[in-house]
Amino acid sequence: MSALKSREAILFGAIFALVALIATRFPGFVAPGNLVAVFTDTTPLMILAMGQMVVILTRCIDLSVAANLALTGMVCAMINVAAPDLPVAVILVIALVMGSALGAINGILVWKLNIPPIVVTLGTMTIFRGVIFLLTEGKWINAHEMSPTFTGFPRAEFLGMPVLGWIGVVIAIVMMVVMARTTLGRAVYAVGGNPHAAVYTGIDVGKTQFKAFVISGMLAGLTGYLWVARYSVAYVDIAGGFELDVVAACVIGGVSIAGGAGTVVGTLLGALFLGVVKNALPVVDVSPFWQLAISGAAIIIAVAFNAKSGRSKGRVILKSAEHAQ
């Protein structure tokens, strides 16, 4: 029985129990419409967490995702102000390309200059925010400056769920296929699981990490447009500190911070858990400080769980024990 599979079951159970508990106090929470709203509200976190998961799997970390989101979102908003008639499809392409480019900067620094990822992304996180300030001189772009098609896209409903939610679903499916069924996905797990062994099998560790940062950046850029359009506002500090929620979602979802272990499903459940806590607790009159405490406790419990399941087994000396494992 794999520890990860059972981890996902436990997390699913925890989310279910939480929702059920809230439903006893506030039945309206479990109305289908509300559950869809919670899911949609959590989608940005889920998308970013899936990108972050890939990075963490390769033994790196990307602290610049929220800053990338804010910068790409701001650029999309400025383009919209300058050219209101540009179709949303073009904006989406711009967001994906720009996000990838920002991710590639992180990746290149890690790959070619061997700078520790935490340092690189701490630096680019600050730089990206600084660039937004340079572009805007600190001014906001508000709803009335953006075109209705630009802001309307993520909120448009399709089969009872906003497009934002559907984008989350599509990305989740794509990521599951990438991680489980492509050579890139396999390389990511190999690099994180044992970089030395990966080198000998012909996998370029640095290049794989670079690709992970590009994926993370691409998803952050896409989320940038979606975020700005959904909230109809762009300024320097949007999604400030959100990178920590993203890392937390991964950790709660069972992604090993030491790399090599973690799944898309786990990550999605980790993000959903945080989303439910954030959306549900205010409804039942729990103070926001308790929300923080619950999120924090969840992280520590998750890490303790990871440490336990990740502990290496001792050498088997007894012959009789060899097949009993």
Binding site: T183, A190, Y200, G202
Partner: protein, 514 residues
């Protein structure tokens, strides 16, 4: 604390300051020391000589309290002692300069010298002045011109070595152990070290000197002791012995034939390596390898064999040289290109560099073959399972399911996964680095048998090994490396233990030091 201040009486009758008597030490599956003897005398240098794995390092660790012997006794000035911890050994005046000295870059020279036993003042805090003064004193006594306040990271290799020696001397030492002290030094630094050894001798210290290099043993030692396979072979005065005698003692009797070497048909040339060189690790390696042949690479640890192999598969780049595989001249710049060319390398440290423990068996096996099991970057699960099943069955790997994570398998089965992984790439040349290191006799025979089978199926095998019986028993031909160069290529009747050791330690055929 009183007994520590008691000055050791170096002129005990019998002459030996330190004596090992019948020391035995076993590790699971291997007897590292089997009743060995060793005597160290005040004011004299004793050289400890033996092949790789003869038990030299184990003796050092026993003497310095890192290992506890299973049997036998250690006598210090005639009285039995027990070193339960390295601190006990240091308190008794036995100190060692290890092969890889652990020093701290960000600390000053004095802090490095006195780490763990810094002088304290009356408040129990470190007495900095005393520490720096004592360090300067020790540095002066060995003639080192180093400022005790400088941070270690600002010193060169040679100065670091002197700091390591100072650290060994910072305890009231009567026995100084030097484990391959010249390995990292240049010629002038080696001369300075010899002078230092003379100084220590004059101070009446008993010195144990471990080295592979015969020229320096003859230059510096007064006595010798030879170990072979964890056993004491003999001891005596250097002036009474010739190099040829020492080599004879090191390698012992003729090698018993317990290797299941099958005669394989040796075919056409598969791999030719010409003029392979690296700026710092090896130079001018030339050889050809034929189909079905097992080519042995012998040498002492650090002769550059693994470094050369890693370059051959593209982990490091050669500065010069070319590889011709099956008639194609290739430049191999990465392990992926080596795999494409049909050359695979099974590293020595299979635990660390071999398997990915968090991955299922089938994914580990197909990892280097993903190009073959995938189409346009998408993995074809059916192909993947078929390949994994074929090779795990071939190696008789028993596991409940190919979905099992490798981390849940026993050590022996993990090794099989690693080998299956490389065979699944269908290589033409397989390089096995120390294929039987650290495994028990029974498994060794299985590995040798398997190696023979591979060769008889037409695979060319390069085997890097430091074990003479294995090299002689399995190889069709042997290349000996020393200090990054190929010093001999031996075939047929020339493949004798004495010849191998002579070339590896650097003695030419007339018996004089090279």
């Amino acid at each position: 604390m009183q007994d520590l201040t008691q000055k050791p009486d170096v002129k005990t009758q019998g002459g030996a300051v330190l004596k090992l008597d019948g020391i035995t030490k076993s590790f699971p599956g291997v007897k590292a020391l089997d009743g060995v003897e060793l005597e160290l005398h005040a004011g004299e240098v004793t050289a400890l000589i033996g092949e790789n794995g003869a038990g030299k390092s184990t003796v050092v660790k026993t003497l310095t309290g890192i290992y506890q012997p299973d049997g036998g006794s250690i006598l210090l000035n005639g009285a039995p002692v027990r070193f339960a911890t390295p601190q006990d050994a240091a308190d008794a005046g036995v100190t060692a300069i290890h092969q890889e000295t652990v020093l701290f870059d960000e600390l000053s020279v004095a802090e490095n010298v006195f780490i763990g036993h810094a002088p304290k003042n009356k408040f129990g805090l470190i007495d900095k002045k005393a520490m720096f003064d004592r360090t300067t004193e020790i540095l002066n006594s060995i003639g080192a011109k180093i400022d005790a306040h400088v941070k270690l990271k600002d010193l060169g290799i040679a100065s670091r070595h002197l700091v390591a020696i100072s650290r060994a001397l910072s305890v009231e030492a009567q026995v100084v152990i030097m484990d391959e002290p010249t390995a990292a030094l240049s010629q002038t630094e080696i001369e300075e070290l010899y002078e230092l050894v003379d100084t220590l001798k004059a101070q009446g210290k008993a010195i144990l000197f471990i080295s592979h290099k015969f020229d320096e043993i003859f230059r510096i030692a007064d006595r010798y002791t030879v170990f072979r396979d964890g056993q004491y072979v003999g001891a005596g005065l250097m002036k009474d012995v010739k190099e040829a005698d020492l080599v004879q003692m090191m390698v012992g009797r003729a090698v018993e034939q317990l290797f299941p070497k099958r005669e394989a048909e040796i075919g056409e040339e598969v791999l030719t390596v010409a003029g392979y060189s690296h700026p710092t690790e090896f130079e001018d390696i030339n050889f050809t390898l034929r189909k079905g042949e097992i080519l042995g690479f012998y040498g002492l640890v650090g002769a550059g064999r693994s470094e050369f192999m890693q370059s051959l598969i593209g982990i490091t780049r050669p500065s010069k040289g070319a590889v011709n595989i099956n008639g194609d001249v290739r430049v191999i710049r990465s392990p992926a290109e080596a795999i494409d060319a049909g050359i695979v390398y099974v590293p020595e440290d299979r635990g660390k560099q071999g398997a990915i423990l968090d991955m299922p068996i089938f994914q580990n096996v197909t990892l280097p073959s993903l190009k073959k099991t995938s189409r346009d970057g998408f993995i074809q699960l059916a192909n993947e399972f078929a390949l994994a099943r074929e090779y795990t069955e071939r190696l008789d790997l028993r596991a409940a399911s190919l979905d099992t994570n490798v981390g849940a398998l026993s050590g022996g089965n993990q090794q099989k996964v690693v080998i299956a992984k490389w065979l699944a790439t269908k290589p033409r040349v397989i390089i096995l680095d120390e294929p039987t290191k650290g495994i028990d006799i029974g498994s060794k025979a299985a590995v040798h048998d398997f190696m023979s089978e591979l060769a008889s199926e037409g695979l060319s095998v390069i085997m890097v090994s430091s074990e003479i019986p294995e090299i002689l028993g399995m190889s069709d031909r042997v290349i000996v490396m020393r200090e990054g160069r190929m010093v001999a290529e031996l075939e047929g009747d020339d493949m004798k233990p004495e010849t191998l050791v002579r070339h590896a330690v650097g003695i030419n055929s007339t018996g004089d030091a090279a």
